[in-house]
Subunit: 399 residues, 2 copies
């Protein structure tokens, strides 16, 4: 297979949903779709240096039916009961359950359209998108499995063994490192300005031993999170959402919720606005300093918490009456969502640079958004209250 040379576990996993799906059957003829040429990606760094990333994404093949598994049948970690296998089974189960719950909440009879694809060298994915339902403006739920190769320096850096400035430390030279990545990724944009946007993403990453250093240990990481982006603060909803996240965390480690809540506030930060895009939740990345079974169970618990954390909020708010002003504010906040995703989100920006399937990457963008020059909500308004909470993240629970 063509190699995917990635630089960090996060980039590989961020890539997984981005590289997903050749086409969902819902929208017009696909013949005009432009395939993005694989190849070497160059871009100019902040100091004008040319930073080169070697990336070649293998072309995907549409499939008519989801296969039982996207794992390779070469025994490399695909054995019964392996973490890879159990993680893939989990994200596919959760994809089905989340989509079913969303269709029921939408209540319009609108259904997710599904696209299945595979890659000749192994891996593939299932993209599901519901567009223009009664409740949801745009809802995408994707799973994918990626096999790739990362440069040895990135492998060493990810293990924390790299020298200063990412240069390789001394030690035996290693070759490119094959990796496995699997993830579920979703953004849900409701129509009603009082029903919040939800994003969640859970991912597992594993390397093989480096090819030229067979004795080196296999590495693995978990990453992910679930975060809420309302246009208006309804405390009952935000507290419910955060308390479900905390419950999931507390089953595993009392330090998780406060740590991952802060990580979430730090990650979803629109630096040029000095605002977060929303009211947070939990986020973690490159997590491997706990028992692997424990983290698999934790990721599973988090993914299983999406429906109980979110659906009750949507049910309560999907029919709330609203004005044009409420809608305009929601649209301004959606503009912030676009800014975050296009400028900062690691999965999106990496996907755009490496030639992932563009419609799958940008399904996270809202159907509509707005940029009004110099708009600042007045003191004392509900809009200002939301903005203040995005500027100064709050603790929503009594810890």
């Amino acid at each position: 297979m063509a190699p995917s040379l990635l630089t960090t576990p996060s980039q590989a996993l961020a890539l997984a949903p981005g590289a997903a799906a050749s086409r969902v059957g819902g929208g017009g003829g696909g013949s005009a779709r432009v395939s993005f040429p694989s190849g070497r990606v160059q871009r100019r760094g902040a100091l004008g240096m040319r930073v080169r990333a070697s990336v070649a994404i293998e072309k995907e093949t549409p499939e008519s039916e989801p296969p039982p598994t996207f794992l390779r049948e070469d025994g490399s970690g695909a054995g019964s009961g392996s973490v890879r296998e159990r993680f893939e089974a989990m994200i596919r189960r959760v994809q089905g359950e989340v989509c079913a719950a969303l269709e029921e909440a939408d209540g319009s009879g609108a259904r997710f359209v599904e696209d299945v694809w595979s890659r000749p060298g192994g891996g593939g994915g299932i993209s599901r998108v519901l567009q223009d339902g009664r409740v949801f403006e745009k809802a995408g739920v994707n799973v994918s499995v990626v096999y790739g190769v990362m440069p040895p320096d990135a492998y060493r850096a990810a293990k924390g063994e790299a020298g200063k400035n990412g240069a390789a430390a001394d030690g035996p030279k290693a070759g490119p490192v094959p990796f496995f990545a699997a993830g579920i990724s979703s953004v849900l944009h409701p129509k009603n300005p009082f029903a919040p946007t939800l994003h969640f993403n859970y991912r597992y990453f594993e390397t093989d031993a480096p090819k030229d250093a067979p004795g080196a240990p296999r590495q693995w990481w978990f990453g992910g999170g679930t975060d809420l982006t309302p246009s208006y603060i309804i405390e009952e909803d935000v507290k419910h959402f955060h308390s479900v996240q905390k419950q999931a965390c507390d089953k595993f480690d009392p330090s998780f919720y406060p740590r991952f809540k802060k990580w979430c506030d730090d990650y979803f930060y629109i630096k040029h606005r000095n605002e977060r895009r929303g009211l947070g939740g939990i986020f973690f990345d490159d997590l491997n300093d706990y028992d692997q079974e424990m983290l698999l169970n934790f990721a599973t618990e988090c993914a299983d918490s999406v429906v109980p954390a979110y659906i009750p909020i949507v049910e309560r708010r999907k029919d709330t009456p609203f004005t044009e002003e409420h809608k305009a504010w929601q649209q301004l906040r959606r503009g912030r969502y676009v800014e975050f995703n296009l400028v900062y989100d690691r999965g999106t920006t990496f996907g755009l640079k490496t030639g992932g399937r563009i419609e799958s990457i940008l399904v996270s963008l809202p159907l509509t958004a707005r940029w009004q020059y110099d708009h600042t909500p007045e003191e004392g308004t509900e809009e200002r209250k939301l903005l203040d909470a995005c500027i100064n993240p709050k603790e929503w629970l009594d810890l």
Copy 2:
């Protein structure tokens, strides 16, 4: 003054409009506006390397009236008849003329709101924005003057003297290089889907001699362009627009139009879509290989061509009847505009990273935009015709 350490003439000049304006008085209380901290900007390059840019933008001061000039009174190129002085006078005159023509075309009595600002160490700007007029959804016309300091390597790279990979070539060591930049920058988004969006930007950049190498020559560059982004191809309009660009070019050099037309097609390229954002025009950057007087006259001619190139098109199309489908397609194309500006545009991305005034930088974004999953216009439609021309740039004139 606090130094602005920039890396290329283009970045400096791109910064000029981005760093403009403390506030335009049109929209709500400004007291909540968050000031962006100056400081060192870090970001991760494509290979995970941390690339550091030293940038500190001096805080601007609002002014009640435009001063006669934003040039420093220290005699450094500000003498009567200098290129700096004549360029500043030109962009300020053009700003006034373009705004007057736009107000007249809008015909609603809507007026540009103006914000004037200066920096203690020299420089400043005038931002003018017309929002929600009868014809224009959002129109911004900014001029600015920036004094800053660029690292010596960037100076050498810009002069074409740098060694491989941007490293300094042999020769005497030079210190930071003070520079001067001035520019006019504008994006005009009409409401009617048959009236195209226009962007233009003209800029002049000049360095002093390096501080530690006083014998080194002073450098200067011109940059800019004017480009058209319609949602529908009306050949009469596109040909008119390009022919005005060509006329301006042909007065100076017969090679200019074909060369700058191609440069424009190459620059406004949305790589992840394999599409241009529109139907081009002219674009040039870092231009100094012609007589300086000639290029000043050329930039002036180009800037003076904005009104005759654009206003007749707007007049013809501002009241064209349209359907919801036309509007939805315009909104999808506006989404592409957002993608280009946030992901690729050098001025925007540099401005976001360096803490320029965010509302001035993002005034280029449309009031509203749309992202529809997997939308591909059908063969034979007007929408498809536009898309095809964005994928395969056409020659609009018989050359």
